[in-house]
Symmetry: C2
Amino acid sequence: MNQTNSPKSLGMSVKASPGDFDLESYMHDRTKAVNQALDHFLPRANTNPPTLHEAMRYSLFAGGKRLRPALCLAAAEACAGSVDDAMPLACAVECIHTYSLIHDDLPAMDDDDYRRGKLTNHKVFGEGIAILAGDALLTQAFEIAAQSKGWTRYSHQKIFRELSHAAGSLQLIAGQVADLEGEGKKIPASELKYIHERKTSALLCCAVRLGGMSANCAAARLRALTDFGYNVGLAFQVIDDILDVTQTSEHLGKTAGKDQAARKATYPSIVGMKRSRQIAKELTGRAFAALRPFKGKALALEALAHHLLERSR
Amino acid sequence: MNQTNSPKSLGMSVKASPGDFDLESYMHDRTKAVNQALDHFLPRANTNPPTLHEAMRYSLFAGGKRLRPALCLAAAEACAGSVDDAMPLACAVECIHTYSLIHDDLPAMDDDDYRRGKLTNHKVFGEGIAILAGDALLTQAFEIAAQSKGWTRYSHQKIFRELSHAAGSLQLIAGQVADLEGEGKKIPASELKYIHERKTSALLCCAVRLGGMSANCAAARLRALTDFGYNVGLAFQVIDDILDVTQTSEHLGKTAGKDQAARKATYPSIVGMKRSRQIAKELTGRAFAALRPFKGKALALEALAHHLLERSR
């Protein structure tokens, strides 16, 4: 969160960081609360079979930024909801995100040895356990989501549809498949957008929406949050593409230049660096605009969107 | 279902096949209905990305016996419920079963080339897509379950807890991990029972329970179904172990003798063939006893339990 000290900041701010909002301390508090909740929801590491639960916890507590849970909680707060009501959904999304990283890193997929500066799950526990730990985190997500409150307006049925759709074969997994199949191919910008929408934006947008739903928000608010989540999600991935080119592996905590090495299409490779930065800025601008109905009561969401644009890792 | 013509029947019947009940025609009808429902719930094969949806459908329609869905529907009928109400849950369980087979067959796990007489998913689509197709089927299961009806007594929340628990790190996946870790080791019968309870009985029992829940059954009935499902599930796996030794690959449609080759503990290898047959018979007897409260109105469940004991594949 330390924007001012971050090396090689992208320098793309669309507006000054929301005045008085202290994002660093906000994220510190939220990350702590999310980590405690995840620890509560997950079986202990010594639960039978211990290898499996150790592997699940290894990746879940490997220093993730908790961006999706933070967005979920911030959306709930923007709708005058409580952090407690949103927490199971925030944790469910983080379990899904973590499972997708474990499986993406496998030799049969992106074949990555490092993630967040630590060895990837399969490098520590072996491929078999890594696959099963991913499966278990995905399943755990639904078990945790079942512990959410549920409202008349947003029943458990709706919440489950939301989560399973975002994580399913038309969204998150579709993105990963398209990404896998696009390797080494020249693809048009429209196809890259299709991948980014699914691989990143779908679950991120889902996190924001679930936050609103946990606060029993009105339909217009949910539409605004959807618009925000979609644009922030896309901006996030465009910036990820940029950072993969401009930053070192050490700084990112994962292999930099990986996209180029795998001959993956990225925004910089297709539209160039200058236009990529412009696109990220435009998307973030749209995300800010989506928050207008909240009339200044979505400060955390604004600060998060701002930070995502400015981040250097 | 063709018991009389099946070669090398295990000859372990605990009672005569339920008199007038025509299991063959029952299974024919139910299999057809389940296949139609699965076809309805799954995205078309040409849905983007087509490789993924083809891979999901390849394994889902690879000639599975639809045992778990049949048990789910039969449990619903035993509780005077409708096939329609139970169908989404029956299909959800089948998706979870199929995903678990795809992942179990991967090189990092059991490394199997054939399943149900056809090439395994990763042999056809490659490991990356096979992992993702499994992930997608698991996720799809929850999306389908969200289309079930839900009652005051058995809310969607309860249904999701049921399904995610049975498929999760303490049950189905725990069984697979213990199975993987037990390879080549001498394990006691108690550990083997632990594996079988989780790897097979948990989801099978869940299928039966969800059938009862879809029929809004009373608590006593649900207990009876649980008892039935648990014992039938264990019996099923003991018999699987026996068949792996006594039948040919061609007859089973998968690699026979696989357990021995992988130095996996099985009932025959730990307690011997004679005692294994006795155990299967005892478990089936307990399953029959559990059905007493249904006073002869659980004919399909009885016939299914009987068939599972008598089957030769």
